[in-house]
């Protein structure tokens, strides 16, 4: 217990030292189709005027880590925050190429996508340790009690990496932010619609509070 506390303290001190020397790595993590790339695109459009990656209704559209360097956001009171935005492939415990066939792909394409998706999950997990801050992007119309969500957040908590939880897709009728909040009561949960840019001001405020 004491060793863990000392480890956490050292990690925090080291992170703060390095935070001043290099750009903060802000990772977007979560299950597939939660809207990570849609959110990444929204952030990049808001502050850089360009997209980051392609989005799709078929799961595992993002199969490689994507980085947008030096994104600078500004608060209403004039403060600035710069970070390298890291969009990650969705983390899953299963990948079935037949699901991609059902979504309209040919068998060969589906198998290739499945293979790339598994590699993407492995890369996302490997990168977890390198993040300075993580935004967990959840689809607020889905069950938040998935073990993948709990495992990712548990690992970030163990490494003392700051976490902000986003309940995305609040524009949809089935959206249940309260259920997400009930699942993770120890974290701040902000409801947004990355697609329509709803509540993005609250999201940016949340980022300032988390990183500063």
């Amino acid at each position: 217990m004491v060793v863990n506390l000392i480890k956490k303290f050292i990690n925090k001190v080291l992170r703060n030292i390095f935070k001043n020397k290099k750009k903060v790595k802000l990772g977007l993590y979560g299950p597939p189709n939660g809207g990570k790339t849609t959110l990444a695109n929204r952030i990049c459009q808001d502050w850089l005027g360009e997209d980051m990656g392609s989005v799709s209704n078929v799961a595992h559209e993002t199969r490689e880590i994507q980085i947008k360097e030096q994104v600078t956001i500004k608060s209403k009171d004039g403060k600035e925050l710069s970070f390298n935005l890291v969009d990650t492939p969705g983390i899953a415990t299963k990948i079935d190429y037949e699901d991609f066939i059902k979504a309209g792909m040919k068998e060969k394409e589906a198998k290739t996508r499945a293979k790339e998706a598994t590699k993407g999950v492995i890369d996302s997990i490997k990168w977890l340790d390198d993040m300075d801050t993580v935004v967990i992007v959840l689809d607020s119309t889905k069950d938040p009690y998935s073990q993948v969500n709990i495992t990712i957040i548990g690992n970030l908590q163990a490494r003392d990496i700051p976490v902000l939880i986003i309940a995305n897709k609040i524009d949809l009728k089935k959206s249940k932010i309260k259920k997400v909040q009930a699942a993770f009561p120890q974290y701040e949960v902000i409801g947004i619609s990355g697609k329509y840019g709803k509540n993005m001001d609250k999201f940016y405020e949340g980022l300032f509070a988390l990183i500063n």
Binding site: Q147, G154, N155
Partner: protein
């Protein structure tokens, strides 16, 4: 073939290192059996389990469904808090249980804090625990 649940007592994995623990459980799941583990893996091991599962995914093995039931109670008073702290100290990861099901058999494990619903692919009836 019926649904096979293999119970794994915590004592069977207690002495194993993280990699061997994860591989032991995954090997059972790859035999199309549902693992019912007494206790739970460490968070780091859960992460490793997902990573290794992804390395093993093939046209036959599609991955796993995973759920951990943790008996931690929220909003408990000071006395109960101290008591559960003591239990945690004594039992550690032996508390709760973990279900690991092969994705070819288990379609979904839905978890509310106090209830687990396991939906299978081959059997139409859902089983509640």
């Amino acid at each position: 073939m019926g649904l096979v649940l293999q119970f794994v007592p915590y004592s069977e994995i207690e002495e194993l290192g993280p990699a061997r623990r994860v591989n032991k459980l995954l090997d059972i799941a790859k035999q199309n059996k549902i693992v019912l583990l007494e206790g739970r893996l460490k968070k780091e091991e859960e992460k490793d389990l997902i990573e290794i599962t992804m390395e093993e995914v093939s046209n036959k093995f599609k991955g796993i469904e995973l759920a951990v039931i943790n008996p931690q109670k929220k909003d408990q008073g000071i006395l109960k808090g101290v008591k559960s702290g003591m239990i945690n100290l004594l039992l550690g990861d032996r508390q709760g249980f973990t279900i690991i099901g092969p994705a070819t058999i288990v379609k979904q494990i839905k978890k509310d804090p106090d209830k687990i619903e396991l939906f299978t692919k081959d059997i139409k009836n859902k089983k509640k625990k």
